[in-house]
């Protein structure tokens, strides 16, 4: 028995079958571990951890307006994450949802700014343009991957920077509001170009309902459709998928177009919702946070409904901590990263379990006994 085993008499052992219980428990374990880390962090920063917890998680949600904000911030996260889950399951790593979000906002916002007289059709046209913009942007990565074998991870990410610079160019240059006191902003959208609110007194709008509907559609696609089945097989057992003749290229196109379309929709919903115009900082990293949302939601379109609410609470908590505790707003990003780490570690116990290492005593005869038993 080595020294290590004396100090730590536990060993990882592969389970016979993946544990279903653990696959549901692991996000909870990760969330609790994140909270404990938060307690320690707040204490280390000299804040009363209980009060800080209150400011971070309880106060922002203690009234109807706060609940509205929770749903409002969950909306773009949910929209992006629903698309990502479908791609990630097929091992297609679109990590540039942030860029598709921006292009969606530009495309939909362009319709709002330049196509006048659409009346009641303005919003549907904007939403369509937004989704199409996101699809086209992700489609670049799909084309390069299927045609030139180029890593979609790096391409989608590079396209994030290009999209953001493009938006910055538009709102600083040709699309800047001439009456906007030189602020880098477009004109405000008209009233018929803003998504209707769900209830008065809060900012959450019908995009949240749309996101929920998309999550349900996504769940149906994943579990009931043949295309969804092919993508799952491609993710779980690429060799089996190839043997069955499932087209790799079709999966990559589908995964990127779906996730890009969802992210583009999230972008236009954000600018046609709480923001109401185009400006350079339309997203506090929703597209990246959605990656974490997708993992915490177990890569399931319905799971991400819960995890997007959790992530939204982290955003709200970060804002409230910034105002009341003078903590930097980046505490949100920190918590997001910590959450994902804990989740990945906790996921280990889906396929492994801890077992006590039994002390092995030298028993020459035991070998014979074992073979006798085995035969």
């Amino acid at each position: 028995m080595s020294l290590l085993e004396r100090v730590w008499p536990l060993q990882l052992e592969r389970r016979a079958a993946p544990s279903r219980v653990m696959s549901f428990a692991s996000p909870l374990i990760a969330a609790v571990a994140m909270l404990i880390t938060g307690f320690i962090l707040f204490s280390a920063l000299g804040k009363d951890p209980v009060a800080a917890f209150n400011v971070f998680f309880i106060e922002p949600l203690s009234n109807a307006y706060g609940l509205g904000e929770l749903l409002l911030k969950a909306t773009p996260l949910l929209l992006c994450a629903v698309g990502l889950t479908i791609g990630f399951r097929a091992n297609v790593w679109n990590i540039g949802a942030e860029g598709q979000f921006v292009i969606g906002a530009i495309a939909g916002g362009g319709v709002a700014l330049f196509a006048s007289g659409l009346g009641v059709f303005a919003l549907p046209a904007m939403l369509l343009a937004g989704a199409a913009g996101g699809m086209a942007w992700a489609g670049i990565a799909a084309w390069l991957r299927t045609r030139f074998n180029t890593s979609e991870i790096l391409v989608t990410l590079m396209l994030v920077y290009i999209a953001k610079l493009g938006l910055s160019y538009l709102v600083h240059g040709p699309w800047r509001d001439p009456a906007g006191f030189n602020f880098p902003q477009s004109q405000a959208f008209d009233e018929n170009e803003i998504l209707p609110l769900l209830w008065e007194g809060a900012r959450v709008n019908i995009a949240f309902i749309m996101a929920l509907a998309l999550a349900v559609l996504g769940a149906i696609f994943v579990s009931k459709s043949f295309a969804g089945f092919r993508m799952r097989v491609a993710g779980l057992a690429p060799a089996a998928a190839a043997y069955a003749g499932y087209s790799d290229k079709r999966n990559i196109w589908l995964a990127l177009l779906i996730s890009g379309g969802c992210a583009g929709l999230a972008g236009i919903c954000e600018v046609a919702g709480p923001i109401g115009l185009l400006s350079p900082d339309i997203s506090p990293g929703y597209g990246f946070a959605a990656i974490i949302v997708a993992f915490v939601g177990r890569l399931h379109p319905l799971g991400v409904v819960l995890s997007s609410l959790l992530m939204s609470a982290l955003y709200l908590g970060g804002e409230s901590a910034q105002i009341e505790l003078q903590l930097p707003s980046s505490v949100t990003g920190l918590f997001q990263g910590i959450l994902l780490f804990y989740l990945l570690a906790a996921d280990l116990f889906i396929t492994f379990r801890l077992r006590r290492v039994k002390p092995i005593v030298a028993q020459p005869l035991a070998i014979g006994v074992k073979t006798a038993n085995a035969s």
């Binding site: 990882l12 592969r14 790593w93 990590i95 390069l144 030139f148 074998n149 180029t150 890593s151 991870i153 790096l154 391409v155 990410l157 590079m158 396209l159 994030v160 920077y161 290009i162 610079l165 493009g166 910055s168 160019y169 600083h172 240059g173 990246f288 990656i291 974490i292 993992f295 930097p328 980046s330 505490v331 949100t332 990003g333 920190l334 918590f335 997001q336 990263g337 910590i338 994902l340 780490f341 990945l344 570690a345 996921d347 280990l348 492994f352």
Partner: protein, 308 residues
């Protein structure tokens, strides 16, 4: 155009390429051992904020660089624990590391935004720096520039001339075989991951103490991802990393000098150049699947466990 006009372009190209070289050589070693760590962006940012914070507080840039290397190693150790010991998915864990590094560096660096720091001084080598033309062109950079070249020589020698390098490549190509002839695959991979962490940290340090001597949230601006593309572009060979980095450095600098050269394009489009160039070179290199198949370490991104 004469030398006086070209000189600043050459020297700033070298400066822009230096962090890319340092980080990419570490990533190269790590990937040659079969480990794909996508968290370079996060480790660079942590290195940048650590070097800046330690440099400002202690007044010693050297101490800042050492601290940055250790900070990068600490993050990469976390990555190693998860992917090598706990067998998590390397892609997902690398993404987590990148996001975590961005958040953590912004959090830690909050108090250091806007503070001034003295940039790493340029060397003045007796006699050599004084040579006309060649002096300013070759012998008046800061110490880190020369460090990046030494690192290139060291990594090339290590990979192709040392037995340890041969063993590391064996682990990356075929961990099962390496294990069966008695190599400690996991240990070697840990060391490679730690080396990648240290170089990423130092590369980040160069950003905040030399390239733009200040701390700004997310100041690496995607360089960590460009480094990953650079290693693919180099088909996992050190010399090509060096050449590729100077190429990228040139593209980055072009955007700064283009307006001076009379190119009338909005600055945003010029700023897109490095990212667009990254996509273009990836397409050029990956176009033929055989290039990747022949050069990519065979076990890149796959977990290995000695027992199964």
């Amino acid at each position: 155009m004469n030398l006086e006009q070209w000189l600043p372009i050459v020297t700033s190209t070298v400066a822009a390429a230096t962090p890319l070289i340092i980080a990419a050589l570490g990533v190269l070693v790590c990937e040659r051992a079969g480990v794909l760590n996508l968290g370079v962006e996060g480790m660079m940012l942590i290195g940048a904020v650590t070097a800046f914070a330690v440099g400002v507080s202690s007044g010693s840039l050297l101490l800042g660089y050492v601290a940055a290397a250790f900070a990068g190693m600490a993050l990469s150790l976390l990555f190693g624990l998860l992917t090598l010991t706990l067998q998590t998915n390397q892609v997902a864990t690398g993404l987590a590391l990148a996001l975590f590094g961005v958040g953590l560096s912004a959090f830690v660096g909050q108090g250091f935004v806007g503070l001034p720091i003295d940039r790493v001084p340029d060397l003045s080598i007796p006699f050599l720096s004084g040579i006309p033309m060649l002096g300013p062109l070759l012998f008046r950079y800061d110490a880190v520039v020369y460090l990046s070249l030494v690192l290139y020589l060291a990594v090339s020698w290590f990979l192709y001339r040392s037995s340890a390098g041969l063993r590391l490549r064996a682990v990356g190509e075929s961990p099962g075989v390496a294990h069966s002839i008695g190599e400690r695959v996991i240990l070697i991979r840990y060391l490679a991951v730690l080396f990648g962490g240290a170089t990423s940290g130092v590369a980040g340090a160069y950003l905040s103490t030399a390239l733009t001597p200040m701390w700004v949230e997310g100041m690496s601006a995607g360089r960590g991802w460009i480094v990953l593309a650079l290693v693919v572009f180099a088909t996992w060979r050190p010399l090509r990393v060096l050449l590729g980095a100077y190429l990228f450095g040139g593209v980055t600098v072009l955007q700064l000098h283009a307006q001076g050269l009379g190119v009338n394009v909005p600055s945003e489009f010029l700023s897109m150049l490095p990212y667009a160039a990254t996509i273009v070179v990836l397409v050029v290199i990956c176009r033929d699947p055989r290039t990747i198949l022949l050069n990519q370490p065979a076990s890149l991104g796959r977990s290995f466990h000695p027992d199964h």
